[in-house]
Symmetry: C2
């Protein structure tokens, strides 16, 4: 098993999260304890990075940290929590859809305003 793993700096570059944030996420239980190398330094595996990538998607779509912690906790508890996890993601999915619809509506208003300014400039 040559799963060497990468340093926190490399994980930071790969994930787009700062090293500070990576430690913070681990501290609050959002990320399971990351393995260590001989020097006691964190060593991120591919699985760690995949989990971080999924977390950033949840985060970016507006899921609060507290909800993400709850989801992470269910993952730790094992496969019998799959149905609940699905429900959480589905509820979140609905919120994201609403958000996208709202953004599209607001974008239309923005476009009309921009057009109006063009009209003012060319008059």
């Amino acid at each position: 098993m040559g799963m060497t793993g990468i340093t926190i700096q490399e994980a930071s570059r790969t994930s787009g999260l700062s090293a500070h944030t990576l430690r913070y996420y681990e501290r609050i239980g959002l990320v399971p304890e990351v393995g260590r190398d001989a020097a006691g330094h964190r060593s991120y595996t591919g699985a760690d990075l995949a989990w971080l990538e999924f977390l950033t998607k949840l985060r970016r779509t507006g899921m609060p940290i507290a909800d993400m912690c709850r989801y992470a906790e269910l993952v730790r508890r094992g496969p019998e929590t799959a149905a609940e996890r699905r429900r959480i993601l589905q509820a979140h999915r609905e919120r994201v859809l609403e958000r996208i619809a709202q953004l599209n509506g607001d974008l239309a208003v923005l476009d009309r305003k921009i057009d109006m300014y063009y009209g003012m400039e060319s008059s």
Copy 2:
């Protein structure tokens, strides 16, 4: 000119912003000074409400308060700032488009994950 105006509570219900937030927005110069009735209470006009509605769209689409203040300042300075306002809105529009694209991408991942959970449950 029978522009009576509505109370801060009614403006709160109409705009979806709390009375606290309405006063806060006025304090930081995001909303021009609202008129007062005989008792010194704020009296919101239709124009005030329209401005608030536009502000909430900027806010909801992720524009920081500081940028909104800058935009509001340009509006106060008059029509000669129209071109700059347009540029601000256009730059913002680009960010909103990116945000929507990102949300759609993240939504697709969410959907695949949900499908995966369905697969786990039915197996």
